[in-house]
Symmetry: C2
Subunit: 336 residues, 2 copies
């Protein structure tokens, strides 16, 4: 099993990326069955690797002198920087030299490059970004959370199929319940997009349970929640900002009087444990799904733990042969 | 000053609606300058009024034998039930017999009826529902939060104009900062709708400060936030569900160990005060703006306090002559 890694992507690269790789290998690659290909500037990678202890047979450095910066235009950057860690990493996926690729670099360049270079599973018109989000009863898989801001109805049905296979195989959920983000429970509620997507979702072979009203999503009841990436990004980012605002308001209230501030001190461990539950680095990255191999977008601010968890996700994905199962799911239903 | 009220709308009608009316009059109508017209079944209204003490000259009962139920189709209900409290109340607005109308009844019937019966301000293509939402630094006015799920770019600019006048006149914000809900800070980010709306917002005469990224909205920095009603409803309802889920998780964490549960007891007052800050009944209702008179949609579960606050909103709206100022704002800029 070979996983490719963009050693130069993200705010904390290459140090945290490489620390994450080593942690992952030492924890999950004991038997020497997993190998990592690190794409980036050899010297910098080597000097970081020198700080750690690991099985040297399991890491290969692949020289990639160029780096795509966050501010660059995605399509142009992919075309111009053929020797960047992102482009070379994606090319290794295309050739089949690796089964998955993890990058904390530019989202736009990674998604554009992945679609162009790696190619789509037959029947998938648009690959989509998925994100595992916390809810009251555990978590739900939001797809599309960042790739297609203007979606067509059939895309949403395709996201449902892709998301269902991912949820079952990687997250271990037997018969994932799929909902569509909507503003009312009934099928006639919603905007043009959701109304047209509704019958397609009912007939595409997933366990479609209907509209997921925004109020109900955080309370649980759905394993896979589909929407266009504009709405998905709003949900993802609003919940991030909202919990930040809420914790800050709680802190303010708790410290504005004597008894509550003593209470806050005593409750500290509980808040810490809750913050850990809501911590995105526990998940490690957003899988970009519907391609012929897995690409994982790790958060730009990823630390070693986030990279380790992203690699763990790749590990399960390859082991369970998820790409083949997604292709089967599209072949079986003759597309959407 | 005359305000019309749907005495029969909402889960707690007529008892809580009437209690709210009386509380409002006793608090704000001391000098007898405010009169309320209660639309509904005379006998039921009278029997509720008999329980309270108030200036009898200030309340008039207007018989409306029919009630539009929540499940009815809005357009059909408006056409068929000409003697419902909603239709008769809206007719009184049209005739100028009242300056505002409050209802906790069917949202669909109220908005459809209001648009058809009361009519739009010149230059407003679609009236929009606004909602005041809490954020870290206070609150922001979200428009459209429930009327137009499929919007055109110029609607968003019109919402910005309407929302700015409301924010200034009713909420007392001098030069309201307007943002558009978006998934990135730059003007080229977003979906087709937001990209086309961006230049219109820049030139429509409001204090447009650019994209409001979903992550930043709850942290403050915007007074008016515009979007289509699908996205607006997601923000509104997701934050409702999310804070419910978060408080439940906090409770769970706090009561799962001894010290934190003592802490929780000591912090009780702080949590109570925070919940009050996040309580929608403190605001009292969502104004439906862009019409020739004010219509306020109170929440279906409104209690007396929510009705009182909705009436207070109408009071300020009429006093400040907000409809005329909105009309001026459209005349001045020649429409969007």
């Amino acid at each position: 099993m070979i996983i490719a890694v963009d050693a130069m992507g993200g705010d904390n690269a290459p140090a945290e990326v490489i620390r994450g790789c080593v942690q992952f290998l030492n924890e999950f690659g004991k038997s020497g069955n997993i190998r990592l290909k690190l794409f980036g500037q050899t010297e910098k990678i080597q000097s970081e690797l020198n700080k750690h202890t690991f099985d040297k047979n399991c890491i290969e450095i692949c020289e990639a002198p160029e780096i795509i910066e966050m501010a660059e235009h995605p399509t142009e950057a992919i075309k111009r920087k053929k020797n960047s860690s992102i482009v070379l990493g994606l090319n290794s996926l295309k050739r089949g030299d690796a089964g998955a690729f993890v990058s904390a670099g530019s989202t736009g360049a990674l998604l554009t490059g992945a679609t162009v270079i790696v190619g789509r599973i037959k029947g998938v018109e648009r690959p989509a970004l998925g994100t595992l989000l916390p809810c009251k009863t555990g978590s739900f898989f939001l797809i599309d959370s960042g790739a297609n801001v203007d979606a067509k109805p059939q895309y949403l049905a395709q996201f449902a199929k892709i998301g269902s296979v991912y949820s079952k195989e990687v997250l271990g959920i037997e018969n994932p319940r799929v909902g569509i983000v909507n503003i009312g429970a009934e099928s006639e509620k919603g905007n043009v997009l959701t109304k047209e997507a509704f019958p397609l979702l009912e007939s595409c072979g997933v366990n479609f349970v209907g509209s997921a009203e925004a109020r109900d999503i955080p309370l649980g009841g759905f394993d896979v929640v589909v929407c266009d990436a504009f709405v998905g990004n709003i949900i993802l980012k609003y919940s991030e900002g909202f919990s930040k605002a809420l914790f800050s308001l709680i802190k303010h209230e708790l410290t504005s009087a004597f008894l509550p501030s003593v209470g806050a001190l005593l409750s500290k461990s509980a808040f810490k444990s809750l913050k850990k539950k809501l911590d995105p680095s526990e998940v490690g990255g957003a899988p970009f799904l519907g391609l012929k191999a897995l690409v994982v977008k790790a958060h730009g601010s990823s630390d070693a733990k986030a990279i380790k968890n992203a690699l763990r996700q790749c590990n399960i994905f390859i082991e369970k042969n998820v790409t083949a199962k997604m292709a089967e799911s599209f072949a079986a239903n003759g597309g959407v």
